[in-house]
């Protein structure tokens, strides 16, 4: 897994690439916790380059949503497609998370 961060219009854009599974999810969670406790409460998570997500990865997303909820923050997922999309569909995540087809659309949610 590789995590890249940039700030656009006060929104943190996370680009996740590679695999988000049992091995990499703890690292993802650690980064997210640091960013949220550092004051970032608006997130766009770009899954354009995410190849695979496991249940541990899903848990990471849930933790993120929960932490943001506590701080009145928000998150929006972008480019959830392919394998990742079918996992989302299967476990009902589609109904829990806001999802957009591109980063710019996702950013528009926060305007």
């Amino acid at each position: 897994m590789n995590l890249q961060t940039r700030i656009e219009n006060n929104v943190t854009v996370l680009t996740v690439s590679g695999r988000l599974d049992t091995v990499t999810a703890p690292e993802y969670e650690k980064n997210i916790r640091e960013m949220i406790s550092g004051g970032n409460i608006k997130f766009v998570v770009d899954f354009e380059q995410l190849e695979y997500i496991s249940s541990a990865g899903l848990r990471g997303l849930l933790v993120m949503a929960k932490l943001l909820n506590e701080k009145s923050g928000r998150m929006c997922l972008a480019n959830v497609k392919g394998n990742v999309r079918s996992v989302f569909d299967m476990c009902g995540f589609t109904s829990v998370f806001t999802m957009k087809d591109s980063v710019s659309e996702a950013l528009a949610v926060f305007v």
Binding site: S54, S55, K66
Partner: protein
């Protein structure tokens, strides 16, 4: 065994061998240089000796020549009558003891017209002086034809004859000095006769033979023709020439040497002497007679002292190296001793005896430092081993506890098949293989009333101990709520609300929960984010497409939907977790839903245990040795064939 391949042996070998080599080289060089110096010394010594001998011979010869010349000059300057002539000759013998005989031989009719030949001759015989007339003594071969007369007559100068034996005068070796004398006439100088003086060579040869050089060295005298005059080989004297010996021995180098000698050359050579020793020889001519004097030094004896010295030095060197070796052994063993003790100690430590006594170190040298470091290392090792033992013990404890946990977890899942032998209406089989000691997957089935069987499969997020604990809670809740509520959507909603409460870690579990009416084959089911099951019936094998639902524990208040299907007789419902479809091979390729569908199409359908084992082996084949990353769980339920129920 302290000497076996040890440092001591290496020390001794290297030092002793090097010393031996250096010593041998020194000795060899010394021997060689001694020879060279000896040779130079020898050349000068032999030249001096030869020259002094030549001088003595020359002095004797010169005295005789002078007397002979004196008589000749006297005869030339004044006329002598017979009486005066005889007195002159006789007195010259009496006054010169080295002259053994003297005479005057006149040319025919030169003494007086009356006598044809006239040659008076005095000689020593038994201590007295005798007289003879040579013209009467040599009647058969008159004296004018003898060499001693002919050669000086023709050459017109003093001449020494080749040495010869005078048999008439006691068989002594003689040489004759002949000097021509003349009378002045109007037509110039006219030869009147030859004055002769004999010299006995015995004293000369005795002088030369008496020269002893070392033990076997000698001096030798050769005539102008190479005739041997004085030599330790007595038989050769006056019998052999240098050339006849060379001929006899077929030795060209000896002949060459002879030629050089009779040419009057001087030389210093290394050769094999006539008596057979390797020798050094100095040879030089005696100028007045053209004879050659040689002095011969036997090499063997010359080098004897050098050899003796070398032998002594060798013995001293040998003893020295022996002593050195002993000293080296002593020093090396002194150095090695603590090392040997240390080596013994390491053996003990290697065998695990950390409390072995280490040798005390008094010295501050490298060995002392080594021993000190060794002490420190032993302490560190002890400490390390103790820590390791503790760690291993605690790890083993955890392992055994995990083992117990595995057993407990396994015992929580129904494992006895067939579980309901008195229910021929359906068959059910399931298996769970955890990726770690304890897993997060589980399955369950139980009757909620006489005709309704609840069965479910679930997958807790993550693996290991946290997942196993969560699984215990989820499984218990699902069973109690299942028996209480009897409707899949209600069961899931209720359990979800309980799990979502105080879920700090955001753990969750996917569940596929269904209730089968065993009399009709009707199935009511609800899905909480779990992988879609498959149906195997008369229409083939296909995935079910349940409505998506959020997994349990993620969010409270989630609503689930109950759906329905009917299992016809002999149809099978196949449930699994993502450990099956997401099994990876070494190239990271997932097993996938496609492969599983194909595998089920080819799997045995009658026996559910065989079906599940078949899928297991297919997955294992796909994994091809790659480690199992997730729990692998499968559950299959099948309605009986028509007529059996």
């Amino acid at each position: 065994m302290p000497f076996k391949n040890s440092i001591v042996v290496k020390f001794v070998l290297v030092i002793s061998l090097f010393n031996a080599v250096i010593f041998a080289l020194t000795l060899g060089y010394n021997y060689y240089q001694s020879r060279v110096i000896l040779q130079q010394e020898l050349e000068s010594n032999s030249r001096n000796l030869a020259m002094s001998l030549v001088h003595r011979v020359e002095t004797e010869l010169a005295a005789v020549a002078k007397v002979t010349e004196g008589i000749a000059r006297s005869l030339e300057t004044s006329p002598h009558n017979e009486r005066e002539l005889l007195t002159l000759i006789r007195s010259s013998i009496e006054q010169n003891p080295e002259i053994s005989g003297a005479g005057v031989a006149f040319e025919p009719y030169a003494f007086n017209a009356a006598s044809h030949l006239y040659a008076p001759y005095f000689y020593r015989e038994n201590g007295k002086i005798s007289f003879r007339r040579l013209e009467k003594a040599y009647l058969d071969f008159p004296y004018p034809y003898w060499d001693w007369y002919q050669i000086p007559r023709e050459l017109g100068k003093l001449e020494w004859s080749e040495p010869y034996f005078d048999e008439g005068a006691g068989n002594i070796l003689k040489s004759t000095c002949s000097v021509p004398f003349y009378k002045d006439t109007a037509s110039g100088k006219q030869l009147k006769g030859i004055v002769i003086s004999d010299i006995s060579l015995d004293s000369l040869t005795q002088l030369i033979s008496s020269i002893k050089i070392l033990k076997t060295g000698y001096a030798a005298l050769l005539s102008r023709n190479g005739m041997i005059l004085a030599h330790p080989m007595k038989d050769a004297i006056m019998n052999e020439t240098f050339f006849s010996i060379a001929e006899g021995r077929n030795d060209p180098s000896l002949r060459e040497l002879g030629k050089k000698m009779i040419r009057g050359e001087t030389g210093f050579i290394h050769y094999q002497s006539l008596v057979g020793f390797d020798s050094w020889m100095y040879y030089t001519p005696i100028p007045s007679t053209g004879w050659t004097l040689a002095v011969v030094f036997p090499e063997e004896e010359l080098l004897e002292n050098v050899r003796k010295l070398s032998m002594t030095m060798m013995m001293m060197g040998f003893v020295g190296i022996l002593l050195l070796t002993l000293v080296v052994i002593y020093i090396a063993r002194t150095i090695i001793k603590p090392l040997r003790l240390l080596t013994g100690a390491t053996d003990e430590i290697a065998a695990g005896h950390f409390d072995v006594e280490l040798p005390a170190t008094r010295s501050n040298d490298e060995v002392g430092e080594l021993a000190h470091n060794f002490q420190v290392m032993r302490e560190s090792l002890k400490e390390y081993i103790r820590n390791l033992t503790e760690t291993t013990a605690s790890k083993e404890r955890i392992q055994s506890e995990l083992k117990v946990a595995t057993n407990i977890q396994a015992s929580l899942l129904p494992r006895i098949f067939p579980p309901f032998p008195d229910h021929p209406e359906f068959d059910i089989y399931a298996s769970m293989v955890p990726a770690k000691e304890v897993g997060g997957d589980f399955y369950d089935f139980f009757f909620i009333d006489k005709n309704h069987l609840c069965f479910l499969i679930a997958d807790v997020s993550d693996k290991g101990v946290p997942a196993a604990l969560y699984m215990m809670v989820a499984k218990t809740l699902l069973k109690t709520e299942g028996q209480r509520l009897g409707e899949p959507d209600k069961i899931l909603s209720s359990v979800n609300n309980i799990l979502a409460l105080d879920n700090e870690n955001c753990m969750f579990t996917t569940v596929f929960c269904a209730i089968l009416d065993i009399t009709t084959g009707d199935v009511r089911y609800a899905n909480a984010g779990h992988n879609p099951p498959l149906i195997l019936d008369s229409h083939g094998v296909r995935y079910l497409t349940p409505k998506p639902g959020l997994m349990l524990g993620a969010l409270s208040g989630t609503v689930f939907v109950t759906e329905r299907l009917t299992l016809e007789p002999d149809a099978t419902l196949f449930l699994y977790t993502d450990g099956v479809t997401e099994a990876k091979n070494p190239e990271d390729a997932l097993y996938g839903q496609e492969r599983m569908l194909k595998a089920l199409q080819g799997a045995p359908r009658d026996d559910l245990a065989k079906m599940i084992h078949f899928i297991s082996s297919e997955v294992a084949q796909h994994a091809n040795g790659a480690p199992q990353s997730d729990d692998i769980t499968m559950l299959a339920i099948k309605m009986a064939k028509k007529g059996i129920a």
